[in-house]
Amino acid sequence: MKKNGKHRKILTTFLKNRTSLIGACISVAMIFIAIFAPWISPIDPLKQNVYYRLTPPERGHLLGTDEYGRDVLSRIFTGTRISFFVGIVSVILGMVIGTGMGMLAGYAGGKVETALMRTLDIMMAFPDEVFGVMVMIVLGTGVENVIIAITVLMIPRFARMGHAPTLALKEQDYIAAAKSIGASDSRVLMRHVLPNIFGDILVMSTLWLGTAIRLEASLSFLGVGVPPPTPTLGSMVRAGVDFMGVAPWVSVFAGLAILVSIFGFNLLGDGLRDITDPKLYAR
């Protein structure tokens, strides 16, 4: 009974909050594009027509053509699909592994906690792009490897989120009570700790999804992301830079797609955060 009321309240606050509403609309639109890209693309994104390359936007090609004569609009749709796929998978994996690590560290305490938190400190000693580039060089390019790289970068963020609340909740009475009646550790974690932090984690995931997308684009831009001929927004921007003088639409529109995606998730996450806990700081 109580739960329903809380959720209803959140929903109405959400709908009233303009930021999260607009953010949600943008995000949903981009996700729609990502999912239905193969069906809504007017032209096969891989089809080349080199005799018709670098043409400006027009009826047949709403956003122009790239250096191989491929349709920029279709490639942006597919690129969005790839970027979102990488982003969502990385965030989910990072969330599961990272939160797990954080909760474990907070709950177990002692040497385990120190070891885990020190490891996280070390992982966070490298700037995102620098570490990402290193991982990609070691693993080689490819979708799976990009996912691994970004997941690794997501883990410390989620771990931090899982750690502090677990520490605090550990001391609560009802935890001691649960344990005294024989509840196993994992049960305690799952049933009592997790639900309390889940909301916050979900909110931060939205924000970090934007970060993940930005990272994937940056890695592709640097040339160590998903390799050609798969279209990714980052590599499209990179390729377009060489033609900025004669055909700026390639870079500009691909970059715009990245910007809008990230903006949408940031608006949404920000709005959600305002609703659920205005005191949260973010990275």
């Binding site: 191989y68 080689g140 050609p228």
Partner: protein, 546 residues
Amino acid sequence: MKKMKVMFSTVLGFGVLLCLLVPLAVGSGGVLKIALDAADISDIHPHYAHTTQDRGVVHLIFNGLVRYKTGDIGKFEPDLAESWEVSEDGLTWTFHLRHGVMVHPWKGNPGYELTSEDVVYSFQSAANPAKSGCAGGYVGMSFEAVDPYTVRVTLKKPLSETLFLPRVTDYMGGLVIPKKPAEELGEGFRTNPVGTGPFIFKKYLPKEKVITVRNEKYFRGVPKLEGVEVFFMSDLSSRKFGLRSKELDVIEGPPSQPWVEEMQALPGVKVDVFGPGEAGVLYFNVTKKPFDDIRVRRAIGYSISRDEVATTIGKTIAAPIYSPIPPPQAGFLTRAEVKLRGQQEGKDLLYDLDRKKARKLLADAGFPKGLTTEFYMTERGEYAIPMQNVVAQLRESGINAKMITIDHATYHHNIRADMNTIVLYNCWRASADMKLTHMYHSGSIVVTGKKPISNFIHLGKVDADEDGKVDSIDYLIEAARDMLDAQGQRALWQEAQYKLIDWCVSYPLFIKRFTYARQKYVDWGYDLKSTLILSPQINELTSISK
């Protein structure tokens, strides 16, 4: 708040003021600044220099006995040698040196006159695998200083002029290093070369540039330029903007049509597109399925429009080629010749685009629904760009060729380790003999050959045309190598190529030329048609008229 506003506008104003005070980049009248696509030099010892940037520096500083005519690799001209003759049996070559050629001054030593002693020293060094990266070209040769101005070269086996002269030209081992500075500087010679050319090495700034100055005592006359600075800028935009801001006079460009057009549209800029270029050829690894089936290889050939691949690179830059030896190299075949031979033998040797034929061949070979394969490709633009177009074209025939992109070094490693199925290789080799030997002789088979080089096909150990017998052109290559008569040599090379085309073990795609953009006030001083060093030659005739 108000205080902040005042602060803000002051800072902004100051910033704007400073930025506007920038002095325009002015060229230092008389020094040519050329930027090449490279991060740094590797080695500027002429017998080790093998990258474009290395050669770009080395050619300013050294001469050979003979030289390719500046800007035209089709002709030979005297350089350090005024004249030469060869004996009847082709075993002895005698070169008569110019008088008064002065070696550059170096590290406190004044220059001195170059004599045959230096020339002999240079060739012996070039022939020594411990002191040179091109010793292989001088096996079986001995060098003798008959008198201070005469050098005699004795061969064990006769070589035609086509094959011998390149070894004594102003290229690689033929570049003459003077004895005294080479011995004195030892290893230091590799970063402080001393020669006889129009420009003297002055300074090397790592990852930045090499500075050379005019050689007042150059035997062809005082160079018009005061000096040449070779910059290493691996970033295309940096080079482009350097040219626009007039900080650079010449820049290397990518083999890209849009780039050429963009540069040509700039005021005061001219683009040079010159040869010989590099030939891009697809090599099939016949030991890997399904490429052991000649029908599959032919199907691939019929799925590709060479014209489209060449257009991907650029209409003014690349052109389709129809023979393994590309034009303008001696021994190449024109489209008409290939077509004619095909007609004479009742077969098609052109493999022009024909998707229906391609699909039929695939079906015959057991792939009615198309086939899927993987191959490695390097991330380097000049390979990756045309290959992406090839992949897109193959898709239209139902051939799904998945490209695995890896870095350039690993690519070279993998293809030499026999890991690849289809190999795109861009190169120019000094002669048809070298090209055919490297790519098609059984001794050069990767990994297992006697002296593995780049025979990715495994030709010489495989049955290419499925007649049950192993196919090889070794005997044709070897026979041609030993021929003294240039015409006969060419005929043998052509025979070898007709076979290669028929077997479809490789698919010649394009020849792509080099692109450089320069300020209009740069005058090369000669007609730039082709250079072996892959960058424009700069010599005593080159000038800037600002």
